[in-house]
Symmetry: D4
Subunit: 242 residues, 8 copies
């Protein structure tokens, strides 16, 4: 519809950032704002531009001070002080479907796990949270197996030795996205220990994202979750080589 396209520009150039306003049309979701290193004024400008374009605003890694400043201008913006996400929704969110399970090992891993969960939800996934189920107390995990075994994708968040994804992946037959966190001290090296453990998981089906990258895990899980069913192909594709 040419008329509508004319009224909505495809890019908003704010000087310090170029907002891709066409992303909602192309991919079904507006651009997500990475809040770290942005000033409150910059966040406010982005929220204004997105709202003006009729799009929902979603920013991650927003500190409490910046969130408060933005909420002075937009009192209906919502801040999650665990996940440190700031949102302002002017349009309906996608209906939640499927099932993504988000597990984390300890309470210190909660901010990352919550960022992953909120991201997946905003991208249309129904999310089940199972927090504080680390491997040192295995009964807590095993007793809740029914809650995560049928998820279409699992996000498993852990710091320190990062063992939880291996144990979980051994219990299910679905894709597991492991998220190392920077929780720990000394030889955890700000999450390197957990990252390496996850990359070396002996359980197949585990893939890994960057340290503390709850957002990335949420996006990947939501992408997997929203896949429609696949069917057997009647013929072998011609481009295949073996």
């Amino acid at each position: 519809m040419p008329r509508k396209r004319h009224t909505t520009p495809i890019e908003a150039d704010l000087g310090f950032a170029k907002l891709d306003l066409d992303r909602l049309r192309r991919r079904g979701q507006p651009e997500v704002v990475y809040g770290a290193g942005k000033t409150a004024a910059q966040l406010e400008a982005i929220f204004r531009a997105l709202s003006a374009a009729g799009q929902n605003a979603f920013a991650t890694r927003v500190c409490a001070e910046h969130a408060a400043a933005v909420r002075q201008v937009f009192p209906d913006a919502a801040y999650n002080d665990i996940a440190r996400t700031l949102t302002r929704d002017v349009a309906p969110l996608p209906r939640r479907r499927g099932k993504v399970a988000v597990l984390c090992a300890g309470t210190s891993d909660m901010p990352v796990a919550e960022e992953a969960a909120i991201t997946a939800e905003r991208l249309g996934a129904r999310v089940v949270r199972l927090f504080d189920v680390g491997v040192a107390g295995l009964h807590r995990l095993l007793s809740r197996q029914a809650q995560f075994a049928d998820a279409r994708a699992l996000i498993v968040v852990a710091g320190m030795e990062g063992a939880l994804p291996s144990v979980v992946a051994g219990l299910v037959d679905r894709p597991v996205i492991a998220v190392p966190t920077s929780v720990g001290y000394g030889a955890s090296f700000q999450g390197i220990a957990a990252l390496l453990a996850m990359l070396n998981s002996c359980a197949a089906g585990v893939t890994v994202v960057n340290i503390d990258n709850g957002f990335g895990a949420g996006v990947a899980a939501a992408m997997i979750n929203r896949l429609r069913g696949s069917r057997a192909n009647p013929e072998t594709a011609k481009v295949t080589r073996e």
Copy 2:
């Protein structure tokens, strides 16, 4: 059927390894053998045990010498000298469905890419291979966009600077599994450079596996590929907390 279960033991203890013969029943696929560090005699014993149980044998990281030795005993075993996989199939493989795209940057990345492709195929995925499409010659990648844009999952293999997954993920809206390879020299540090690049990808939806882990990427992609369609849930799950 209780009778059949009695005739098939659930574990074969070979001394040096315990084969999980029940895996085929539980997960639809027999155990895969990690060939590195196993002797030809050990591989032969495992292939014999799997065949005896009526299960297909699939070993990765098998060197040419060991493959030849096993094939002297089982002439119908098949060796792929690029992927270094050895297989002996005594039962039909799962029918291939869906679509997994496997891309790699350079010809040196082919062994890892091929391992990923074969793994995904044996686990029931239809696979499209697009090799030698590295970012230094962008036209080769862009001209083939139609071949990979509709895959249910993409495996993107690259060594050296590991830039290909970021570029590919920017072009599609499906989960991308990035596989760093140890191809390179000097400051590639046997794949660390590529691994770090992939973990830091600015494109959302990218998850990463261990260096040279084509097998792991193949498993994860096949798991994603075989998911059936998700539906919207009529009610919000009670266990959810926000």
Copy 3:
């Protein structure tokens, strides 16, 4: 002209630093001041000494507080709060010639890119800036190819996975100077991921400078830019050995 040399000392010893006042004569540009770790008083003293010698002052990595303090003494000093450069010009700058293109991947890379651009400009290069053209949105880069393809030297700035220099170098046939930035988190390791990616670039013609070293890239690009044309040598040089 002997008389003039007598009136201008070749070195100003300020106690905490020895200023090379003869550099302007020898190399056509006065010494550049590295502002990090210097106090406002020290910067002021250096600016005073350079001005007294009739030379332009150019300091990099100057924080806003120090800049304000110096500008209280020298109100005509100019502070660029993105590049964090402080300048006071008492003599004409070199005329800008040639063409250096400065590209950067994301808005967070702008300070480094701007430092590179300003440095190259002060050293006599005409500079084209193309910011926020990262590889995850390839169309933004490709649509501007005409603007950078004919530059005599390109400076490509990127953090996170550092993939942009490889892609750009594959599109042009001119020297590309890659600048990794410390933008990122987790496994970006303050720019190591981007640095390694750039050192391992599969595209020939890429050279690399230190993390966040926009100044160094600007100097190298300006040196390349101001080279006069080379001619074929009528005879092979005698010192050559093969």
Copy 4:
């Protein structure tokens, strides 16, 4: 008894090594020989000197070739080709008491686990071996809990992600000595991933030894195992400060 001490020298200087022959008397066990980097001739000389002194010989990290060479001279020497230990006993070994459990994650970890087990046995511990009980197949571990829960010390050997010690330590209330192995590839970095995971174990009571150091774990476990019971002290020690 002065006479006996005269007949047994306290040190045998072989030129390339000084054997502490008095160790048996002082600590109840002769010196153990670290075989790596020693020639067959050197091992033979050490075995001869120990036998001449009436002491049992125990060498670790002996390759098959060297073992064969020594056994040509001392046909009663015994070589364990999994643990790569070479022994020649001319005196009775200590009677085995207590209980040390040695668990390992995969079959590739067996050489290190076996080195630990043999070491602990020779130092007087009764040893229970539970191999191939990695976390990706948790049922294998949990079904054998009774076999290791009452051990006085546990040695837990694992490569790759090194998660097993954390899980085991969560199931028992006894000291767990974790041994990372160099089993793995890519980002396992020859055992660093497992080492870091173990050092960061969230389960209390876990201590760690060097990568592949089965011998060190065996010594520590045997030391713990042979402790006699402690009693409550009737009074607080005067040297204590709080």
Copy 5:
């Protein structure tokens, strides 16, 4: 006694943490609280819950501000400002038995050593402290050998070059738990130098915990200390394989 069990819940879910109140019954000691990253309000809530359940509270890594805040509510809570531990005891502590020696190299290592000592004491060990006995002044260590030689377990704490555990382990025949500290600068890399030194100790019987992990060392030492005597087994266990 079923009635008592009913009155004491086995878990207290505080939202941000799940307290394992059944641990005291199962393992003889309540859960220990890791104070780092918890707010004063969270610590207060945990102390309240533990007290309500009639259990002693023990938190490590509590900063002075948080301790003061908790002590405003519970004036009988005790803060050790060297070890940074906060405790509130509502039930008798276990009687101290056996002997654990805690040695440290320099005065800067005292906080870690003290955390280890207090932990071991609360878990029932009698503790002897020998601080500031580093290897550069060997006479200080050697003159006090009688005080640590008969300990059932030794905790040896050192930063910088981390040499003390090797020297101590060469003087005793008991298990030595080495604790690297982050004390040092430059190439100490926040304790990595000491950690590596300890992992590579040439003295057998040394095991290692994470950098600055005095708590972990205290738990392991107390576990070793409270072992009752082992006896020779009348028969070889059937599960043993050799």
Copy 6:
């Protein structure tokens, strides 16, 4: 000329590699073959394909055995056993112009320096070689200053402490491309020490390539060398932002 384009295909697909035969026309130089990891048969096939297309063949990192095998088929191929390059020229090389200086610190750095020099020469640069001029014997470097001071670009190759580029860049006012080599032992870490030194050069105008990447340095230097003179621009470019 359409007819000619039809007779020369733009790509030769050899199965294991896709040769870009159009590169000569687009960029004035055929593709260069990276010999490492290719078999003698693959090299032979590539040389055949390039020759058939009337293009010169240039392969780097070719071992002596592979070179001998290719030369059995193409006796006119030339092997440089220091630089380990293999060439077969069926068309005239570009005429050498300008001046590139290649300096190296020690004799062990010669293979990398020679690879750089040959590469630059084949890409049309006149090259002056100054080998074995390391900083520990400064007179050797200073006495030859006239030979390298007027080069349009300098390639400076060094292993161990990698100090030579800093010293050279302090003596000239032209772009210096630093090449770290893996020459050294112990804490040289296969060239990391030299790489880091070069990245941290205090002399402006230094850019760096990967460890042992003589080829990359040669390409970059040749690109710089062949630039024609720049002229002052009559007007400021409109795209410039400041």
Copy 7:
């Protein structure tokens, strides 16, 4: 003299530190206090104890605030705000002899160089300072060769690429002690680049101390400087083995 020994205790136990008061008698110099991590009150107590024992006090790494606090109590204490040393002398210092040269590359290296110089002076060395003589401006170093060539020991301080010690050691035939500093950014990794460069120096006679360890370099240089002349031995020592 027994009476004097009775009046001077050999150790002062301050609780947080044990001062070795006998060191002055044994080694000719009182203990030096490492100020980092000590409170002003602790420094004051140490200065009081040393003064009471009639010994000079010398503390390194003292911040300005702590120095001011100590000087309120001891107004005659002297603070060097570049080297960050605090001293209070109640007895004559050793007479300065011999010659130690302290060179540093840049002005940012001055604090470390000055700490080295002051330490060597207090330990009896005459010290020549040559600051800001980095390798990028070689003439500054070469023009002052006469001032350092005859020193009995040289301390060479440098950050960034750490090239100065190699160049200096190539110009002299005396022991060179290299001190890497944490000056730099990005890939200097807080002094690792300089440290590695110095350890890999191609010039013989260079030894290295920890990053920023001016004190250690000063002690070692003073030890070398105060050696008396050696004479030829009339006979080969019996303990020698070759």
Copy 8:
């Protein structure tokens, strides 16, 4: 004597190396040849050139095969198969004076220690060797204190945890040169653990050389050993600044 200088050229250019024949006159010792990476033919050529110039030949890191080849041509060349040094002396060596002590921790460190000892001896030092005196058996070191306490310089060689230099430096008041070796496995990281330990030594007066660099330690010790006595300076040097 001008005539003699004319007959001896100051440089021998062998193509692959430039021999500094004037070094003997300038520094009293001919150039030492680093044998690693040189062919037997190259070593032979160097030995021939040095002998022709009437100078002694000294090569380090020569493998047995190369040594044998050179000795076929020069049967009077001497090979030390522990230190792997090859020498051919055609002129008298300097008379040995002073005293350098070389200590090493274990027998595996002997090659490095012996290289250091031979180097120091050839440069005119009398050397006392004390091998196999590691810290795990402290009595061996302490009982020999008299043999090393009066050395003018000490070289202390150790692998694994590298603790010996700290202990030795605490016992003497002379410069200690610490040499880390690559002896060890796992987390020794080819000598990094020992290197870091030595750089962080808490004992003052310790300086460090590269891993396995016995030669460098020998040169530095010999330089220190041959210093003549220093005298007090009658006046403070004018160049001194404080």
